[in-house]
Structures are given as C-alpha cells and as structure tokens.
C-alpha cells in the first residue's frame, strides 16, 4: 500500500504536467497512441525476457518519433498519425501474444494496471523517471510554454523548435510508461487529460493551472487507491472514475456560479 501510494503520487504529478502541454496542443489522444505502441514493446519484452518497461519505452519513443517525422514530411493530419501508431502498436502486441500462446498475468497487469501489486524495482524505476521528467520540464518550462502558445513565434524568437519537440515526445513517452503501471495501457490517457481539462475550468494562469491539475491528479490517485483498497475494487478504474467525478463536480460548480452571476447582473440592471 505504501509503495502504491508513493508510485501513484509520482505518476499523478508526471502525467498531469506532461498532459497539460498535450491538451493545450490539442494532442490529447497522443498519450493513447504512445501507450498502445508501448503495448507492442511490452509484448516484445515479455517474449524475450527483457524488463518490459524498457522495451515498451523504446518502442513508444521510436513510434512517436516516427509518426512525428511522418507528419512533417508526408503532411499527414495529426489525428491520422495517432491512429496509425495506436493500431500498429496494438497489432504488434496481439501478434506477439498469439505467437507466445495467449495472455499472461503479467500482460494483464500492463493492460489494466496493478498499482497495489507494484514491486520495489518498478517503484524505483517510476521515481527515477519522474525525477528526470520533472527536472527537464522545470528547466525548459518557459520554452515549452512558448511553443504551446505559438510555435511560429517561438521559432522566430530563435528557439530550437524541432529539438524541443522531439525532447517533449520522449518525455511524453516516458510519462506514459510511468503511468501505465498505475492505470494500465487502456486508461493512460485519462490521467494525462482529465485533471488538466478540470484545471482549465478554473480559468487561471499557466503555473496555477499546472498546480491545480497536479492537485486534482494526486487527489484522484490517492482517493482512488484508498477506495479500491477498502472496497476491493479495481484501482485503475476507481482512480479514473474519481478523476471523472472531480471533473463533473467542477463543471457543475462552474455552471452554477456562472448562472448566479448572470442573475445577479440582471438584478443589478433592474435596480
């Protein structure tokens, strides 16, 4: 349980920080594509007895860099390249699984997450990757924000856009691999997207939005783990549903507050 909480909080921080840039770049499904590419890599790892997180990471990075190049040179729309990576990664995984005689318990844990059963080795790997991602993001925060705000302006100001974009793709791949242990391949993009969409509803500046997103993400993970532990539910599903509940609550509160403001303004105008 203690390991689950440490790893869960690390994942919550990493995924929401990376996710903010993805959501603002209208690339929310990129996380899904990366996780499905990683699925192919994990199947390779399990088939060859190599630590699956590393093979998953390698394939996820290679796939992401590949589709980015494809997008640039063949002028293929972003959503189509996401679909190519997503289905190809999944297909590779399915193929390898069928060759090795079907689904194993290990593979299931990658598909649906297994945070409560996380090993010391995985916890340390997650902590190390979280440390690396956060250090780089803090260092390059303003440059990444500039590219997210306006890529052309950022290019004109002399920023090395291609290098920064490739670096970000690698960081996103690492974040996805880190998050997979918590919620599984199928639910990874929820951790990247939902806390950030919720935080955006608060209409704050960039730093504050990032902090709100991280807080919502940590809240969802900790509450989700606690509920799933107490009620013997699947942790991944519980975490994502808590996060969705947080989103719906904030959305409803915002709607109520807006209506209240409209009524108040009308009353002021009448008086």
């Amino acid at each position: 349980m203690q390991r689950a909480l440490i790893a869960g909080i690390s994942v919550a921080i990493t995924s929401s920080v990376i996710g903010l840039f993805l959501v603002l770049r209208r690339n929310s499904l990129f996380g899904d594509a990366l996780s499905h590419a990683a699925f192919g890599g994990i199947a390779i790892g399990l088939a060859t007895n190599i630590y699956p997180l590393w093979t998953g990471l390698a394939l996820s990075i290679l796939g992401a860099l590949g589709i980015t190049k494809l997008r640039q040179y063949a002028k293929i729309p972003a959503d189509a390249t996401v679909a190519i990576l997503l289905s190809s990664g999944l297909a590779l995984g399915i193929l390898l699984i069928s060759l090795s005689g079907g689904f194993t318990l290990d593979l299931f844990s990658f598909l649906f997450g297994s945070i409560l059963l996380i090993s010391v080795e995985d916890t340390l790997a997650i902590l190390a990757m979280t440390g690396i991602i956060l250090s780089i993001i803090i260092l390059l925060y303003r440059q990444l924000m500039y590219i997210t705000f306006d890529e052309e302006q950022a290019r004109v100001s002399g920023l090395p856009i291609s290098k920064l974009n490739y670096l970000f793709i690698i960081l996103a791949s690492v974040a996805v691999i880190v998050s997979m242990r918590l919620v599984g391949i199928l639910l990874v993009s929820s951790l990247l997207v939902i806390p950030n969409v919720t935080a955006l509803l608060f209409n704050k500046g960039f730093k504050k939005t990032a902090l709100i997103s991280v807080s919502i993400s940590i809240f969802s993970v900790v509450t989700g783990i606690a509920i799933s532990y107490a009620a013997n539910l699947a942790p991944a599903g519980t975490i994502v549903l808590v996060s969705t509940a947080a989103f719906l609550t904030v959305l409803a509160a915002r709607h109520y507050s807006k209506r209240k403001q409209v009524v108040k303004k009308l009353e002021e105008a009448r008086n």
Partner: protein, 248 residues
C-alpha cells in the same frame, strides 16, 4: 547604419512568383511602412526575413548577418507581431506570463523587464489578468510588450491593427512612435491604411510582387502620379483576387 539589407530577393510558391527581385535597405531608426494590395507578398517577405522560409534566391542581411546562417543573436534582436493574431480565449496564461515568453532565450525571467514593457504599453495594472479576458486591442498590446521585452533592435509588424477599433488603432500607432523615438527601435510595418502610413512612417516601400516604390514617405504621398498608379495596381490585384476566388 543600415539595419536591414535585402538584395534581389525572389520567392516562388507552387509555380507562382510571389516575390520578384526585391531590393531595399532600412536605416537604423526608420519606421518603414510596407504597403501593397492583398496577395502582394508582404507576409511572404516577412517570412523570408524571419527565417520561416529559406528556399528563396537573393540575400537578406539583418545587422550585417545573412539570415540563412540562422544566427540566434540576430533573431533575438527581432520582435515580430503576426497578422490577425488572436490569442485563444481559453489559453491559461496571465498577461505577465505571456510577456515573459519574450525573454525566454536570454535566460532568467526579469520581473523588472516585464513590468517596464507592460508599463510602456499601458497594461501594468492588468498583469495578473488572464490574457484571454482582454479585448482585441489590449491583446495586441500584450503581444507588443512580449515583442519588445527583449529590447529588440527591429520590430516587424504584419498588419497589426486588423480587427481593432479606431481609437485603439490610434493608441497603437502612438505607441509605435514612442517605441521608435524613446527606445530607438527600428520598425517595419505592413499596412493597408495609407493614412496611418502617411502619418507615422518615415519611409515607404510599396510592393506588388516586385518593388513598386521605395523612398521617403513624403515622396510617395506628395506625388499624385505614384498614388494613382498605386490605387490602379491595387484595384487590379483586388479584381484578380476576386475573380480567382469566385472561380475557385
């Protein structure tokens, strides 16, 4: 001193010659108004100058450096404001955060620099507001503050007042004059507003694919033949664009 030297610049796109043998220079401290009809190549000219396009022929030197060398020092000395740039309403950034982007490449954010830039454009009191909540004119001033926070030597503005009301336009032009006179920033500014160019620019370049006129502002506006020829060429370009659009 010549800040910009453009020599025989030509650029073609999809088999069409967009810029044809353009040559001109800009002296330090000038406000150059670039006028020309829609599709005349003004934005393409800026894209070449900013290194966004590099498959052109001829040379562009800024601060004595050929921009094809991609010297980041040169690009850091240029501020740029795009045509019809609107800030997405939901982008989560405060005015201060947006202006701070302008000093990304120089190292640590300087609060003093940001405050100074915001004070110059009259938005210091709004620094903590979300940029998406501001009016179009205020957003344009935020982008100017971002462009000037790094103390650029050259400010390139591509039809910066499109969609902004008349009062804000006049404030904007006064601000340009102030930046030019007090901060010694050389300005290149593309515009359709001949009256504003006449009032604020020190020199004029009139392009319509090729250079039609380049000289002092009064030389252009006090010459009825030039003005007549310009309006005729604008009308022709407009008709061409109109026919092209309707056929398409």
């Amino acid at each position: 001193m010549q800040l910009v030297e453009i020599d025989r610049l030509s650029y073609a796109y999809s088999g069409n010659l967009v810029l044809d043998n353009i040559s001109f220079t800009i002296d330090e401290g000038d406000i150059l108004g670039i006028i020309g009809p829609n599709g005349a190549g003004k934005t393409t000219l800026f894209s070449c100058m900013l290194g966004l396009l590099d498959d052109y022929t001829g040379t562009i030197k800024i601060l004595g450096e050929d921009i094809k060398k991609k010297n980041s020092k040169v690009f850091k000395s240029i501020g740029y404001i795009q045509q019809k740039k609107t800030i997405e309403q939901n982008f989560p950034a405060t005015v201060e955060e947006i202006v701070s982007l302008g000093i990304t490449t120089t190292g640590k954010t300087s609060k003093v620099k940001i405050a100074l830039a915001l004070e110059t454009v009259g938005l210091l009191a709004q620094k903590d507001r979300r940029v998406g909540e501001l009016s179009g004119g205020q957003q344009q001033r935020v982008l100017i503050a971002k462009a000037m926070v790094n103390n650029p030597k050259l400010l390139i503005l591509d039809e910066p007042v499109t969609g902004i009301d008349l009062e804000m336009q006049n404030k904007f032009y006064s601000l340009l004059k102030k930046l030019n006179q007090e901060n010694k920033i050389t300005i290149i500014w593309a515009s359709h507003d001949l009256d504003a160019v006449n009032r604020f620019a020190t020199s004029v370049a009139c392009i319509n694919r090729s250079m039609f006129f380049h000289g002092k502002t009064y030389e252009f506006f006090e010459n009825p033949d030039l003005l007549k020829a310009y309006s005729e060429s604008s009308m022709q370009a407009h008709m061409h664009l109109h026919n092209h659009t309707h056929r398409g």
